[in-house]
Point group: C2
Chain length 321, copies 2
Amino acid sequence: MSQQLAVGIDIGGTNTKFGIVDRRGNILCDGRMLTNKHEDVNCFLDELHQHMSVLIEQVGGSENIKGIGVGAPNGNFYNGNIEYAPNLRWKGVVPLASLLEKKFSLPTVLTNDANAAALGELIYGAARGMKDFIVITLGTGVGSGIVANGQLIYGHDGFAGELGHIIVIPGGRLHPGTGAHGSLEAYASATGVTNTAIEFLSTRPEVPSLMREHSKEEINSKLIYEAAMKGDPLAMEVYEYTGQILGAALANFVMFSSPEAIVLFGGLTQAGDVIMKPVREHMEKNLLPIFRNKVKLLFSELKESDAAILGASALAWEMKD
Amino acid sequence: MSQQLAVGIDIGGTNTKFGIVDRRGNILCDGRMLTNKHEDVNCFLDELHQHMSVLIEQVGGSENIKGIGVGAPNGNFYNGNIEYAPNLRWKGVVPLASLLEKKFSLPTVLTNDANAAALGELIYGAARGMKDFIVITLGTGVGSGIVANGQLIYGHDGFAGELGHIIVIPGGRLHPGTGAHGSLEAYASATGVTNTAIEFLSTRPEVPSLMREHSKEEINSKLIYEAAMKGDPLAMEVYEYTGQILGAALANFVMFSSPEAIVLFGGLTQAGDVIMKPVREHMEKNLLPIFRNKVKLLFSELKESDAAILGASALAWEMKD
């Protein structure tokens, strides 16, 4: 009767989304705020508390809530800290779970945002019933949640599944947040795709493009997507190139954990076949024969905003009473 | 009382090693034969049966033996097949476990040779008590066994852990066995190291080397090792280069499953610090800060011949009665 609700909070590089979820996975109410508005995490928590208090009142008060689950970049399941997240303004180690526990007087569990998304896919989404799969989140950053033998892989320190930071092109494009050269995130994130478009606009002057009507500062992933949907040749080349790099990276991941499926999630997947086709082609091309034509390449079945909140809330259901 | 013994068989790209092991991990008797002498797997099994029969007699007959565990390249735990192993002469799908069962009238379980090595490290070796680690086998080929949450990762089809075939340098050196360009195995296997030496001997004529007294055909990993132990500058550069590529690859693996340790095993590890130093340096350099100075980089504590047999035999102990 009581405690039939859980709070799910998803902290992204751009937005923080939060909602209150029932045991069936219905999101009763939700909201969002900008993550990087506040340099001080306490100011962020104050604003989050303001928003959440309204929602908690709506559902009858915090006595109905079992706990808070949080998905956050570089979130550590074991200690509840966000540690050295390259896409957040809060530097170093931020003990977010314990700060939230104090602020809300509710038990709080935290994990990697992509691990939370993987839990969402496992319980409500495209990976229902699977024991081995990988979720790749393609947003401001590139994250991953890896399930093997039916369990999330956290690793010995809670940080497993940082596939966005693996090096796919040694000596390649600089990732300003990490200083690494050639990491997957430098190509397959929203920023990465934007940088590819800016690069192609200058290095491929012979390819016509609607994007040439815009200044360099105006180019972003939304504009590239809209251009590609109109058949823009340069935007199509941007997706082809992104798909080539992502597909080759997925092949490497398959040879690691041999998943039944890879679930792609986030902004880039809006392009549908335009991104899926090159990803699939280059994944298959880079696989050993034993792995070919076996791995299901799927788009998430969950609404983007819902999946992260549902996944985060699933952490709260898994808490011991 | 009865069935206190298990057979462990390790099928490598060059040698097949076999032994009879007691429950404490003592190898009571063992032997070896060439793997690729016979193009027909049945002739291989005939010869193996001849050798093994002598050993089985020595320990009092097959009624004392619980079963056979086999480690083999591309060995599939779920169905007992060797499937499309690039380093073996038997092509396609070879139902090795069922063939062995018929030949020896003993229950047989088979897995990837590197997974067997990982079981050996887990039960008897450097990874005792660890829940998250990776074993990398550096021999004729490069294999891997991945343990996460205390369990071997087999993947949905039994083929997880083919880290030797992940692409570390896109468009890099051709692997003649797989047709892939730039896979880890093309650089860090015995053949890979040999090819690097042959390449360096021709492209770096200014670097002095004892190896210049030998013809190209005489260069092999043993010769390179012996030269490096004498401080040979070119041989040292070969190890430095190999360590750079292997270290960068290990960094990617760490960002996948965040293991407590990586255990290196096989021929290349004989070089000790000469290989470990560059591996460690380039692994750390390529890691996100959150992963740095955390991962134990270890050499296997088991004798090379023992580890594979022990690991394979451990599969037999895990069989249901």
